[in-house]
Amino acid sequence: MTIAEMEKPNERGLQKVAANERLTFFGLTLPYLLMVTALIVIPVGWLFYLSFIGRDGSLSFENYERMMKSKAYIRIFLTTFKISILTTIICAAIGYPLAYFMSQLSRKWANICMIGVLIPFWTSLLVRTYAWLVLLQKKGLLNNMAIEMGLISEPIKIVHNTTGTLIGMVHIMLPFLILPLYANMRAIDKDTLKAASSLGATPTRAFWTVFFPLSLPGLLAGLLIVFVLCLGFYVTPAILGGGRVIMAAMKISSNIELYFSWGAASALGVVLLVVTGIILFIASKLVSMDQLGNR
């Protein structure tokens, strides 16, 4: 028996166990991997390929050239990102205080608040969007009430434009931000805040130096979900935007109708995917640097 073998008496056995474990884990993920490959990787790859096929069926860049020629495409992408970023920011501004408030309540009251968050979440998206239309339109509930109360003399335009679109989208996206954020905040050990106070930190300072950094993972997860969902949003901007807010998903659908080829539509999807990838990559760099700075 060599010295090495004496120091690690059962190394070979351990290695075998580890290898078995890896195999088991791989086996467990296999159904999911197969599903993702069959349902996402292959179709997305196929659409990517189709975006390089012209109308006559040969290899061509015409689907991309079209986007360069018409200014409408650039404007549509800018609108898409503008609306998505604004929705995400407003969601954070409303959702963070709410999630914080809920995390400070007792379990019972927090659960009651949670029902308030979840009920709209369970209601059909279409129903909620049309409900906003009824509330916000020129002779809608909100304008009528404001006029009767003498707050305004002429109805204000709060729907069929960017404002209406943002109101509807924030309402629909809010639960996607609150749910991960609240779960994260609940898990934060309250003793850390007490420790900060006992060391002389004011409540404000304790919040910003202890609580806020600890809640960042939940916040970032929520922001990411909201932002990515917004990019592909169709129904709400189509109804509440009144044709004045055209997002990428709407142009994708109208291109299918206009050119009758998947390629003309999927090229837009490819551009959206690539630009989103770049933005998220840059964002992840910025955030990780930010976190390093905090430490």
């Binding site: 079209r66 018409s70 200014k71 409408a72 404007r75 549509i76 609108t79 339109q137 020129k138 002779k139 809608g140 335009k157 069929h160 189509a238 009144g242 044709g243 004045r244 055209i246 142009k251 109208s254 299918i256 109708e257 206009l258 050119y259 009758f260």
Partner: protein, 353 residues
């Protein structure tokens, strides 16, 4: 609680049952037809689809669809969802150009009594409708609103918010007519990118007053009902139905742009022969007259008038009535098959500016 679970379980089962029946029903005596929903399809269903099916002793299942692009995608991907579709003449022509439609057999389908031009090789005309300028009678007063397209574009004489279609179809024509182009010259002027640009520039002059770009007939009817806009382009029948429901809406035939709708068969339809016979049945004047009771879209079969199947009062409400038709431009399907794609991209560019 238990009952609830049982109920929802039954609900689920019946729902799956429907799904299966929808995908696997090529029974010999069953046809699947798709149309546009809303007040329009309600009229078709009650006036034409179901009575015609009953007369032939077959079952006709109805659904809605998104237009000719659905037909193209369905045929190209080899799917099989419906046997007959209801479509505008222009869209049908573009489907025919892509080779996704069955040629109609006019030895089976009798169109000998059709108005001239109201059928094509791939589309059997069923009703005639008009795109008109509708206005809110509360805002302007009955009969005092915009009568012509020139009025629609005149924001000084007729201040107020407007709505136009988010797609190019039948919109550029309004701009040129407002710009003083004579009816018979409209499609000649539009026959170049400069001509299209001229129309777009006219629309640009009223763009700050366009509050909504509508995307469906149900939507523009609702916009007028709710008083969301003071005037809009749109289909005459939808406004008449809205008016019957109490909406403060009126229009003048001087602003009409006439177009027609018909039935087509997707290439490779399972029940092609039966579909052909069914279209032949639907072309009979009785059905067209019955349909026109529900919505003011005129018959393509002139027998309806000759046999006196429609009251004079009702006939005068139809876009195709001679008194109304004489004011109107007829939509050119040839122009749309040549220019629609280019014009649509230019229109979107104008919208997003």
């Amino acid at each position: 609680m238990k009952i609830n679970i049982l109920k929802s379980a039954i609900g689920c089962l019946t729902a799956t049952g429907f799904l299966f029946s929808a995908t696997a029903s090529y029974a010999e005596d069953t046809l699947r037809i798709v149309s546009w929903g809303g007040a329009y399809q309600k009229g078709q269903s009650l006036g034409i689809f179901q009575p015609a099916a009953k007369a032939m002793g077959i079952t006709v299942k109805e659904d809605t669809y998104g237009g000719i692009s659905d037909v193209k995608l369905m045929v190209k991907s080899g799917a099989d969802k419906f046997d007959i579709f209801s479509s505008g003449a222009g869209s049908c022509a573009s489907g025919a150009a892509e080779g996704v439609l069955e040629k109609l057999d006019y030895s089976v389908i009798d169109v000998s009594n059709h108005l001239p031009g109201m059928y094509s090789d791939y589309c059997a005309g069923a009703d005639i409708f008009s795109v008109v300028a509708a206005y809110n009678t509360d805002t302007y007063g009955e009969g005092k609103g915009p009568k012509t397209w020139a009025d629609f574009y005149d924001v000084e004489k007729f201040p107020g918010t407007r709505a136009m279609r988010s797609k190019v179809d039948a919109q550029l024509e309004t701009a040129l007519l407002a710009d003083g182009v004579p009816m018979d010259q409209v499609y000649k002027v539009l026959d170049s990118e400069e001509g299209i640009e001229r129309a777009l520039n006219k629309i640009r002059t009223i763009k700050p007053h366009i509050a909504v770009w509508w995307s469906s007939g149900a939507q523009h009817a609702q916009l007028m009902k709710d008083g969301e806009v003071d005037m809009t382009t749109g289909w005459n029948g939808r406004f008449d139905v809205a008016k019957e429901d109490g909406a403060k809406v009126a229009y003048d035939w001087q602003s009409g742009i006439m177009d027609w709708e018909g039935y087509g068969i997707p290439k490779g339809a399972k029940n092609k022969d039966l579909a052909m016979k069914y279209i032949a049945e639907m072309m009979k004047p009785e059905y067209m007259a019955e349909f026109a009771k529900y919505i003011t879209y005129g018959p393509t079969n002139k027998k309806v008038y000759e046999l006196g199947l429609m009251t004079d009062e009702r006939a005068k409400m139809m876009p195709s009535h001679p008194d109304n038709a004489k004011h109107q431009l007829t939509l050119s399907t040839e122009w749309y098959s040549k220019w629609r794609t280019i014009a649509a991209e230019m229109y979107t560019e104008m919208m997003t500016e």
